[in-house]
Symmetry: C2
Subunit: 369 residues, 2 copies
């Protein structure tokens, strides 16, 4: 495969190369790439804005994350934030910092993933900035969306007796990450005996594909990943719950509070409770868990409930609804009722299988530890 | 001065600490920091969006750029892009990637600069993302603005016979950078004899204040910078030309094309000409140059016209106006007419003092070289 040095194109050439056939499609986009700023028109709608920064070695490891998947994920996690406001993502702004390790074709791959996500979700790429970096890859993405004022759902609207719902299942992305980290360690291990053991050493972040130390000659990736495609996909190519937002609308349900689960259920529930001034009770046996996640946890001697509570990057929606909407939520696909909102003095608790109450903690993902 | 480790606050704690007393003021900001996305309302206006990513070692050198200035500049350069559309900046989203080298107080400084700029320009900080980084400091800023549809000025509207105008003066920020780079080299030099010479070695990027090798004991920064405050300020604390946008409006002038000068006049003029399908002629002796810039160029044996054409980071406005607006532009303060738009077949040329024509080239700032 060709590896064209980025300096042959220069900054303007690179931007042109990556964006030349990007055409705005959404009717709120009046002018996209090519001027000092993009121009958007949201007549009668309110504008939503969210931003994420992804840094190599902190948020992703290119040893096992393909660049196309990375681009896809970088876009989708921002769409997820807009859906979590009950809005519709409309525009994306992509800024890249790129070290000399990367060539034009690498960035094409990254952009291909971003563009695929934008096409599937109906979002226009309208600008950004591309520059060199002294170190690694930096991806900063800003997503713009729209919603009618009366449709927007904040984190602060949960009321006592509301039902707590979450979509899909939890902990799958985290278990996928554990699997990838373990296999990375095994792949680099020169000691075949370590195959199948839990990895104990911290990941050697910042590497590039096929880089690193000794490679285990008997390593068989096919065998390692078979039957675990679902948790891998949840980690490498997550989706935003556009479908559920549409289904809730169709069902005539407006959540009283909502956010997406990026740092883990516990952490997000505490955000909603703090901002709404309420407490909550969540049932451990109501937490939705996929069998692949459960099997992986078992194999790694991890507690799947803890993983479901604290594993990040699920990008499922967490929301609360009024009790009066109970009948309406039942037929909505892929939504689970996992608990209820209570008075703040009762705290934020997990109710175990034997009725025991355990205070929820925001372990989540702390990039500063 | 205290140096609080960022890990003592964690990600959420750090964001809270830096943003807790930020309150939206602009009436287009319906909801700022604290949810999945910010909520903005631009009734009857179009929305403008621009984004910039600043990386340590590429865009700034913390050896001589104070963090507060860096924050100020990171905000202002984005405001400048919105003014260059003839719009009004309204919201800012700030994402940071921060290595272990930085403490909480460092980020307070950076934020103080961002907030000062936002206060002076009337812009709300409405969100962002803060995370750790394996390396150095990364600042990604997105600015939102608004304008009436009929007021927005694009790069592609220049017409043959339009007058080319630029604000303020050119090359000052670049000369300030040259001075800082020279003094940095002198400061680190153990050989006092090199004082006053042009620096020949590439800057040792990525350093921190007071780091680095040998320090020249006889170095006197007071003496080095005296009488050069203006060019230093242009480099370290640039301003966006909000004043000129207001003055043009008051004078009843709507430019036919406009952009801000971040990569250098030549580069920007070529953007306008390419996008408008026209050529241009610019007079060397009409280029506005401050005497401090000229003196610095003289001292460094550099050609000041080349510096004015290709030096970046001036953040002045470059625009074209219809000839009919000639009488109206004369009384507008700090605007210079530097040339005219011509048919594309005549090319994009600089006209020298002796009438010679030299084709303009986009040297500009190429971060990939």
């Amino acid at each position: 495969m060709a590896r064209t040095d980025i300096s042959t194109l220069g900054e303007f050439g690179l931007i042109r190369h990556l964006t030349q056939d990007i055409r705005p499609k959404d009717n709120t986009t009046k002018y996209g790439i090519g001027d000092d700023a993009a121009v958007l028109d949201f007549k009668g709608y309110q504008t939503l804005v969210t931003s994420d920064i992804l840094l190599e070695g902190i948020h992703f490891n290119l040893e096992y994350v393909p660049l196309k998947h990375l681009g896809y994920k970088a876009a989708v996690v921002n769409f997820s934030d807009i859906y979590a406001m009950n809005g519709r993502p409309t525009q994306l702004i992509v800024s890249l910092g790129v070290s000399k390790r990367f060539c034009v074709e690498d960035l094409e791959e990254l952009y291909a993933g971003i563009r695929l996500a934008c096409e599937l979700y109906g979002v226009d790429i309208v600008g950004g900035d591309t520059t060199s970096s002294m170190t690694g890859l930096t991806i900063a993405v800003t997503c713009i969306g729209e919603a009618k004022k009366e449709d927007i759902v904040y984190r602060n609207g949960a009321k006592v007796n509301d039902l707590i719902c979450c979509t899909g299942n939890l902990g799958a992305a985290y278990m996928g990450l554990q699997l990838l980290e373990r296999e990375r360690a095994v792949f680099h291990s020169s000691n075949a005996a370590s195959t199948g053991s839990n990895h104990n050493s911290p990941p050697n972040v910042g590497g590039v594909p096929a880089g690193g130390g000794g490679i285990n000659p008997s390593y068989d990736p096919q065998r390692a990943f078979e039957g675990r495609e679902y948790i891998l996909e949840r980690q490498l190519k997550p989706e935003a719950r556009k479908d559920v937002i549409a289904a809730l609308k169709k069902a005539g349900i407006r959540p009283t509070s909502m956010m997406d689960i990026s740092d883990g259920l516990s952490s997000e529930l505490l955000h909603i409770c703090t901002q709404s001034g309420v407490g909550c009770a969540v049932y451990a046996d109501k937490l939705p868990i996929d069998y692949q996640s459960a099997a992986m946890a078992e194999e790694l001697n991890m507690d799947i409930v803890t993983c479901a509570l604290n594993g990040g990057e699920d990008y499922e929606l967490l929301f609360t609804i009024d009790q009066k909407d109970y009948e309406r939520i039942i037929p909505v696909e892929d939504v689970n009722i996992i608990g209820y909102i209570q008075k703040p003095e009762f705290g934020c608790n997990l109710i175990g299988r034997n009725g025991e109450e355990i205070a929820l903690k925001a372990q989540g993902f702390n990039a500063f530890e």
